[in-house]
């Protein structure tokens, strides 16, 4: 699955299930890859995210707000529930489609750029390609122009390459 991924990119993919589990999610989703990227040590990707105003806390809050907003659309006020935080799911969370698609897109992005190796920037670009779903909605909440951000990350890759 992680053929051609550099060490840092593999570590992101390895960290995503831990992130998911810590948040009580039974599945690994694209947002868990994004959160893992905000914590990736010694990567330009973490810096690029920070430059856009995205760190772990900001992404978490944006995801929470997106969740609240989406539930509010069907008349559910999450604030009215007193749900305890889930103390870790049972098994290893399963990779869900949104995360698999993001990783597959990171490969496609690298191939289109004729980059031989897949780095954490490619994972970010793979995540940013999603036009619909939780991540683009959360980014919208955070006030991020998704496509402009992706172009900046690509420009950074061009410079580094």
């Amino acid at each position: 699955m992680f053929n051609r991924f550099v060490k840092e990119a593999r570590e992101i993919a390895a960290r995503a299930p831990t992130v998911a589990r810590g948040l009580g999610s039974p599945t690994v989703e694209a947002e868990h890859l994004l959160l893992a990227l905000t914590e990736a040590p010694d990567t330009g990707t973490k810096e690029a995210l920070a430059d856009a105003g995205l760190n772990w806390q900001v992404v978490r809050e944006a995801l929470d707000q997106e969740n609240e907003r989406s539930l509010a659309a069907v008349g559910i006020s999450i604030a009215a529930f007193d749900l305890p935080p889930v103390a870790g799911a049972d098994a290893r969370p399963q990779w869900a489609t949104s995360a698999k698609v993001a990783l597959e897109r990171s490969r496609t992005v690298a191939a289109a750029r004729t980059d031989s190796r897949i780095e954490s920037d490619h994972i970010l670009l793979g995540i940013l390609q999603a036009r619909l779903g939780t991540v683009p909605r959360a980014l919208e909440v955070a006030g991020i122009d998704r496509l402009a951000f992706a172009r900046r990350v690509e420009a950074e890759l061009d410079r580094a390459g």
Binding site: E66, V74, A87
Partner: protein, 78 residues
């Protein structure tokens, strides 16, 4: 108390995002309610029947987590 006023999202993107959020919400609610039932001394077969799933399914999904969080579980048949 929770007030649920059903409304219809006007945009399919909002409606579909609500489905995703509801799935996440259901998972959290199930985890919390199963834990509460077990803390109050419910048995696995009772929780399973209330959820309309098999005892094996509910056990597989929740047992490890509840044991890890220190919930005293009733033994089978008691």
């Amino acid at each position: 108390m929770v007030e649920v006023q059903l409304s219809s999202p006007t945009d399919p993107a909002d409606g579909l995002a609500a489905v995703v959020a509801l799935r996440r919400f259901t998972e959290r609610l199930e985890a919390a309610e199963v834990e509460r039932a077990m803390r109050e001394g419910w048995s696995w077969p009772e929780v399973a029947e209330a959820l309309g799933v098999t005892r094996q399914a509910v056990h597989k999904k929740h047992a490890k987590r509840l044991i890890a969080t220190g919930v005293q579980l009733r033994r089978r048949g008691h």
